[in-house]
């Protein structure tokens, strides 16, 4: 009797479940687009602020290439820029949750990533290998890194390039992946890695600011296009691409890159996917 009651109750509950809930989860595509504040004329920009000179905090102020580019971009869109800090791990979920309208984290564009998010490319990446002071002359080409341990930012294009480096005699480059460049630099300082590979502007600054610790090698290589990232289906993709092109045409973008010491990195044509 009691069992029967429970059975009936369970059936009723199940029926209720099928009818009652499940409405909240299906409306997934409608939310893609922009943050709530975007409608009020504020462009919420996620910037990686642990990436000097691309993004960093100085005297309590957000500054760097990506911060300045973001502000100019918002201006061309007729919006107010609001800079929010973002990390590697938080950037994709943040975009998918519409926490940011756009993320500037010096992400390298590639087809695999384009399946997840949209890119508007604005810069040409260049990487350079940094060694401990006194060791830089040991490394002049990528092949010289065979057998050496190299610290890189995990997920960066440097990881792929070094992992795919062909070495004679079954040797390889031992790649150690860190969460950010500060951890790589600390490992280089303590001798846990023989060298680090990262954005050339970033390692250039490290060598300049800490000459007793770090020295630039002659290993420089292209590392693909760097893009602003937007969630799939963003309503403002076309506008952002147009505004990016406008910052190029007006010379503002090149001016920003010149200020931070790498004018050659600025693109002259904004490439974006999905290409319309």
């Amino acid at each position: 009797m009691r069992k029967a009651l429970l059975g009936v109750a369970t059936l009723v509950a199940l029926a209720l479940t099928v009818v009652g809930c499940g409405s909240g989860s299906d409306s997934t595509s409608s939310s893609a687009g922009s943050t709530e504040s975007a409608d009020n004329g504020t462009l919420t920009i996620g910037v990686n602020l642990a990436l000097k000179p691309w993004g960093f905090i100085e005297n309590g102020q957000n500054t760097g290439i990506n911060v300045e580019f973001g502000e100019v971009l918002a201006e061309h869109l007729g919006m107010e820029a609001e800079i929010k800090p973002v990390t590697i791990d938080g950037m994709i979920p943040g975009l998918e949750a519409n926490r940011y309208d756009i993320v500037l984290a010096t992400a390298t564009d590639n087809p695999e990533r384009e399946e997840q998010i949209d890119f508007v490319d604005y810069a040409e990446g260049a990487s350079r290998v940094l060694a401990a002071t006194g060791n830089a002359s040991k490394y002049t080409t990528l092949a010289d890194l065979c057998g050496a341990t190299v610290g890189v930012d995990r997920g960066s294009v440097n990881q792929i390039i070094l992992e795919e480096q062909k070495c004679p005699g079954g040797d390889s480059v031992s790649v150690q992946l860190f969460g950010d460049d500060n951890a790589s630099a600390l490992a280089l300082r303590s001798g846990q890695v023989d060298a680090m590979a990262s954005d050339s502007a970033l390692v250039g600054l490290l060598a300049k600011e800490q000459p007793d610790e770090f020295e630039l090698t002659e290993i420089v290589y292209e590392s693909g296009l760097i893009g602003a990232t937007l969630p799939k289906g963003s309503e403002i993709l076309d506008e952002v691409a147009k505004a990016t092109q406008a910052t190029m045409d007006s010379g503002e973008l090149e001016k920003i890159f010149s200020k931070w010491g790498s004018p050659e990195a600025a693109l002259t044509k904004a490439k974006f996917n999905p290409e319309s």
Binding site: R2, K3, L6, A9, T10, A13, L14, L16, T17, G20, C21, G22, G24, S25, D26, T28, I88, D89, M91, I92, P93, E96, E112, R113, Q116, I117, G151, R154, G155, S156, Q159, I160, Q176, L177, F178, G179, A183, L186, A187, R189, S190, G191, Q192
Partner: protein, 310 residues
């Protein structure tokens, strides 16, 4: 019903010819609450399972990816070695703490204060980059005495050894307190009895104190093991390829952050639940649960019985 004959009212009435039927106490409120909770649970499950944003196909694709499984193995080995090392060290620290020698007890106190006070993340980074502070490690007689042993710090400190040192030193502080609490829960009379029987030091500890202390120690110890299992994920900062790190490396390239984090979490969840079950079994074996020395079989029979009228 099994409980019927224990009911004095029923005993008294059973004599008369027209005894009213005995009906077990109904728990209408409880039944309703269970239904409501069950309903909400099914709703939640459905909202997660049918949500395309979770990209379950990607989760499935990476769940048994060889990189994820390698990371899982690293995480499990790290957890096991940390618990073994920290238990030994924690026991030493707990005994030192209870020593009447002021030097021993103060050193233990200081150790606990220090290693429980510094964030584990900082400790891991610190040990890994020890060579930035001490380029060589020297063992010798201090104040200019002869050097017995000298080694390059980085030849000793690898990501593995740095992670193990940091995890064991940190965890031993917590385990020392759990062991101390367990030992002080044993009645003083037990010690006195052991002494009266001629037991001393190690024998008293092994035969009398620890077996009884274990009963108090098991629940917090199991808790710590779960904390350590998940806490090992911090070693990703020194590029040791644990479970979380393996996932981070994959989504660093593919940008499929959410489904890969879900896949990684499923593995953590599986092993945490496994540990919880093991802890339950050990607890019941030691008879520490509040339900007394119930056997494992009896526990599951009770837990799985739908009616549970008593």
């Amino acid at each position: 019903m099994a409980t019927a004959h224990q009911n004095p009212v029923q005993e008294a009435v059973s004599g008369s010819a027209e005894a009213p039927p005995v009906v077990p106490l109904r728990h209408r409120g409880r039944l309703l609450a269970a239904l409501l909770v069950g309903f909400l649970g099914v709703c939640l499950l459905q909202a997660v399972a049918r949500n395309p944003n979770f990209e379950w196909s990607v989760v499935g694709q990476y769940l048994f990816d060889s990189r994820i499984l390698d990371g899982l193995r690293t995480t499990l080995i790290l957890t096991a070695l940390t618990m073994i090392g920290a238990t030994v060290l924690g026991l030493v620290l707990a005994l030192m703490r209870q020593s009447s020698n002021l030097v021993l007890s103060s050193v233990s106190r200081f150790y606990l204060g220090f290693f429980r006070g510094v964030p584990l993340l900082v400790q891991i980074l610190f040990w890994f980059n020890l060579a930035a502070l001490f380029p060589t490690i020297t063992l010798g007689v201090p104040f200019g005495g002869p050097t017995l042993l000298e080694a390059n710090t980085n030849s000793i400190i690898t990501p593995w050894s740095a992670a193990l040192i940091a995890l064991i030193l940190d965890e031993s502080g917590y385990l020392a307190e759990i062991i101390r609490a367990g030992m002080s829960s044993v009645d003083r009379g037990q010690r006195e009895a052991a002494r009266a029987l001629g037991m001393h030091g190690g024998l008293e500890l092994r035969r009398i104190i620890l077996p009884q202390a274990m009963r108090v120690m098991v629940p917090p110890y199991g808790n710590e093991m779960i904390t350590v299992l998940k806490g090992t994920s911090l070693v990703s900062v020194i590029a040791l390829e644990d479970l979380l790190y393996s996932g981070q490396v994959i989504y660093g390239q593919t940008f499929q952050t959410i489904p890969i984090l879900v896949a990684v979490s499923i593995w953590y969840l599986v092993f945490v639940i496994g540990l919880t079950v093991v802890q339950g079994v050990v607890e019941r074996k030691l008879g520490t649960s509040e339900r007394g020395g119930e056997s494992t079989k009896a526990f599951w029979r009770r837990a799985l019985t739908v009616r549970g009228g008593t």
